[in-house]
Symmetry: C2
Subunit: 117 residues, 2 copies
């Protein structure tokens, strides 16, 4: 679990791309998150979770939206969770995934432009 926290800290502490160059460590941390977003299935999964009204999505809801096998969906969810974009909670037989809004927010701030042209 500690690894996820560290990773989020790296993203938080990295300056906007347009402010100053990233050093190697910052780049490595941020790249992990972008790499997680660099797969169509994971992007769709994330958008399903992010746009869900209640904020929570059961794995079975996701599996039904794809033609991918259930283990593959589970793998993608794990990747998104490992980089700190999602959290999961088990309740009864089901596992519910939830967005970590700060993670997306930090990432957005990182690549956003300082308004000045």
């Amino acid at each position: 679990m500690g690894a996820r926290v560290e990773l989020l800290e790296i993203v938080e502490c990295s300056p906007p791309l347009m402010r100053e160059p990233l050093d190697a460590e910052q780049a490595a941390g941020v790249a992990r998150v972008f790499k997680a977003l660099g797969d169509p299935a994971r992007l769709r999964i994330l958008s399903i979770v992010a746009s869900r009204a209640g904020g929570e999505v059961c794995v079975c809801d996701i599996t039904g939206a794809f033609e991918l096998s259930q283990p593959t969906i589970s793998h993608h969810l794990k990747v998104l969770k490992e980089v700190g974009l999602l959290t999961s909670e088990r309740r009864a037989s089901w596992v519910y995934y939830r967005l970590v809004p700060e993670a997306l927010g930090e990432l957005s701030a990182l690549i956003d432009m300082p308004a000045a042209v």
Copy 2:
């Protein structure tokens, strides 16, 4: 060249992740851009170009900042260019790379949150 324009259009036309789920085509287009950002070397290259005052960077300036071979740098530049994040222009013996601010802006808007909690 047409391919880059199409890709940028996909990113532009995709709703914010928190608004509604991406369809397969949107996800594929957006994922290409994130995948390009999902490499530490490319992230550093992009931040070097983005943070450069004049907005322009010569390839030789980038090569000096890494321990990677020059062909490898050239490869990463090509990837960033193919997804529409950079443009290049040859002047005399040198090739200058430049950020495409709209691309980063659209991407930022895509993952940004609608302020409401």
